[in-house]
């Protein structure tokens, strides 16, 4: 079993989108809820969430042993990760099939990226090359 990150990328400005009706919103939510139930039933869902806008981000770095904070995201980009799922899947084909379902439910492109290791580093040590 492998784990994959399914991330949703959105443009910074949301205002290009047409306002959607409450009915459309309900339909959208129903679709996502049904999909997540399907993920749960098959043991696929590991974690997921929607991120706040990058405006809410803070970067912390160490300069000369001092921690410095800056307001805003690490990279100022037109696109950013708006949300993601982490799923269990046997292989890429299985992960891509879930990604296709997510694309249908949320009507946005999804990036599928494999984890090379998951969990706590202490638990991963025995899997590492040369260990």
């Amino acid at each position: 079993m492998s784990q994959y990150l399914l991330s949703v990328h959105a443009g910074q400005a949301q205002d290009h989108q047409e306002p959607i009706s409450p009915e459309q919103m309900q339909g959208f939510m129903d679709g996502v809820i049904a999909l997540e139930a399907e993920m749960d039933a098959s043991g696929t869902f590991v974690f997921g969430g929607r991120l706040a806008d990058p405006d809410a981000a803070t970067v912390v770095r160490s300069t000369d042993g001092k921690h410095v904070m800056t307001d805003g995201p690490f990279v100022e980009a037109k696109e950013h990760i708006a949300g993601f799922y982490i799923i269990n899947a046997d292989d890429l084909d299985a992960a891509l099939a879930w990604a296709a379902k997510v694309v249908t439910a949320i009507n946005a492109p999804i990036e599928v990226r494999p984890f090379s290791a998951t969990g706590r580093v202490a638990d991963q040590v025995h899997q590492m090359p040369g260990a």
Binding site: D91, L92, D93, A131
Partner: protein, 435 residues
Amino acid sequence: MTRFVAADGEATEVERVFREVYGQAVATLVRVFGDITLAEDAVQHAFTVASDRWRSDGIPPNPAGWIVTTARNRAIDDLRRSARGRELHEQLSVGARTSHGPAVDDSDENGPMRDDQLRLIFTCCHPALRTEHQVALTLRLLGGLSVEEVARAFLVSEAAMAKRLVRAKYKIKAAKIPYRVPAVANLPDRLRSVLLVVYLIYTTGGDDPERAPLRSEAIRLGRALVEMMPDEPEAAGLLALMLLSESRVPARTAEGAIVVLRDQDRTKWDRTSIEEGHRIVRACIRLDRPGPFQLQAAIQAVHCAAGSFEATDWRQIVALYDQLFVVMPTPVVSLNRAIAIGEIEGPEAALTVLDAIAADLDGYHLMHATRGAMLRRLGRRVAARAAYERAANLATVEADQRFLAQQIEQLTEGGDPMQQPADRPLGPPSERRPS
């Protein structure tokens, strides 16, 4: 992979066998160990051992089985020596890695080995890999071409090609692209990408003598696919398309320039390939499950059946292009249809069709060459020359450039404009790049 300088006849024979069994051996080792790089290294080692032993003892009756057994033993030794390997070895012995288990079939039965190759070609041509990586992997792993040979075929440096292959193999491993024949529901789409890769290898072989070995490699892969999937008419269609195109190669160039279909010496066409191509096309028609490759093959079959250019059944060809356009609505298909229309309804009608696709194919030399041919037939020599010049600027293959230079020269010097109307602007061609 190791190349042998043909010091004697035996060395050449050994090399031929290597080329033949490389893909089989790598595919089987990938099934057993689930790791492409490990499989390649082990097969490479087995070839090195074989090159000494076979030259003194002769080639064994089942060379593929010999290579697989030797490579497997080497791989197991390698695994035992490394920690990473110990873990992989553990996984293998509990059968966790694959549902097929770690058994190697090295009997001389070809079935299981064929299945291994089929699985590997679907991995190499997985849609999650970019096309140029699919092509490079297929040529390297299944065709057994050296990195240097693959690099030369795609006009990139050996270092760049090596990097491309490393990246592609990394993705297969890291993203866990599966090693199996896709489920029935996905098979048509996935098969299409495999067939396109093989056809791309064929067309890359094109008219460039340097890259000609790619064409025979593509035909070899095409035959293997038909053997592996005898019930897939599109696989058969691709093989027929390649065979029929190949049959005209001997007549396609003269003094380094392309010879258009109208002017080809049809006695130079290879009858054996034509007969085989025709046989496959007839079998496909009986199955009645048409698809883009079968239709393209059928079009080539009509051309190959004509005793002369004038005897070509153009109505049949237009009808087939109409069918092809339904399943493959690309401007290149329209372009070829326009050429056939020009034969039935004349150059004016062809130009009308061309006008509709001119913008889409503005960067495609064959579109401008076709325009040039039609304009020339109408006696519009200045416009024809301009179109040929545009084509010449876009053409990349030397034989095409020479042909186009000839046309420009004829239109510059004067002479009878109707004397050499190049209807098939450049070779059979047609569907050189179906995209």
